[in-house]
Amino acid sequence: MTITAPPRTSIRFRGRSFLALVLAPEAPVEGWLEQFDAWAAESPGFFIGRPVVLDVTGLELDKAALAKLVSDLNERTVRIMGIEGSDPGTCGLGLPPSLSGGREKAVADVLDAQSAIAQKAPPRKSNDPLVIEGAVRSGQVIIHPEGDVIVTGSVGSGAEIVAGGSIHVYGTLRGRAIAGTTGDAKARIFCRKFEAELMAIDGLYKTADSMRPELRSHAVQAWLEGDAIIMAAMN
């Protein structure tokens, strides 16, 4: 009797960025809630259906106080999807997860993006490439979910490039290149000298250990064929 293994499908992880409103209460929280109520009375329903991130930087709330603030806001139809600026210890089970690394956006953009979704209008897409002059150093992360990323220098070991489209590196690629994060299977990765730690396209990834060693130090491009990342030298 033979046992046939079920066909293995890859589990895909995709990055996606969303816009959220950030509420930053000020101490004392009680007084701030009163002001909030006065403001909300004038714009009822403002927060319905909107993801909100709570920024508690500088408030120094303990776990109980934080839980109370979250439930107080819940009663006011404000749904908290994440907490920013709290100690990792205070955001335990039962509370929204702690977030970090957010980027500032104009409030109008946030409201625009959501009304766009509400109206089922196609989301505005900027396909402009992001050009990084010079090197991306270890520990730096470049995220450009709307298009290609072009780096004129090298990408250091421990640096990360995340692009919705393709990634072009005109120096040495030593770090991680993650292309096609918004579901673009046609995205490619190009580099003039290949030393990458990790490459991913559309959620499929390959670590350095599983890449062909003879490609090291060459100019390389990578693309997706079905569920496989294909890599080839370019000269």
Binding site: V136, S138, G139, Q140, S154, G156, G158
Partner: protein, 271 residues
Amino acid sequence: MAKVLVVTSGKGGVGKTTSTAALGAALAQSGQSVVVVDFDVGLRNLDLVMGAERRVVYDLINVTQGDAKLSQALIRDKRLDTLHLLPASQTRDKDALTEEGVAKVMEELRAKFDWVICDSPAGIERGAWLAMRHADVAVVVTNPEVSSVRDSDRIIGLLDSKTLKAERGERMEKHLLLTRYDTGRAERGEMLKVDDVLEILSIPLLGIIPESEEVLRASNLGTPVTLSNPASTPARAYSDAAKRLNGESITMMVPQNRRSLFGKLFGRKAA
């Protein structure tokens, strides 16, 4: 116009403090007034390497908090009139440093000296951030091995984004100081070669300091190596690096393996 220089690396133990002392002494020998500032609050070492540990009364924290005047905390070197030390506090930690306090002290130091050399603590946290914050020039100290090189790459990224100069949109001047370099081991492939490090970090090379017992001996004596034995190879390498910081163009010497073929043939005397 004073220049503020930060000696930094990310990784610990690569020779930041030794290099601070050696470069500071070499610059002071050229007649310019120099202060070396220890930012490693809680783990101060620069006072030991400078041989001033018995003369510390007030420190950087006392000055930033207004408990002492800058002139009370500065220690003038006994060997060189132009060389001064501003020690760190050993009893406090990095949280005791405030951004405003550091800004005030740096402004006062700029008015007083030609060179302000900040010895950064290891790591990328608050202490290292405050040490690099006001710098005009950075010396990135790197050992020829992969972990040190990657940490330096990280620090270069921070120098280009977290310093006041970078935030004003100006370009931070950065130099690479390769320390503990052993030509023999690099040639045997046990260490990265100069070119490998330069290719990865792509910043200009300030100097190559050979691995030498002389450096350790100088630290234990409490004398910067450029003062304790100016004729030694590491001291000459540091002096050349200091001259390059002053804008002189000096040919780069890659340290040679002392034991040439001739040396190997006649290296040891028979008993």
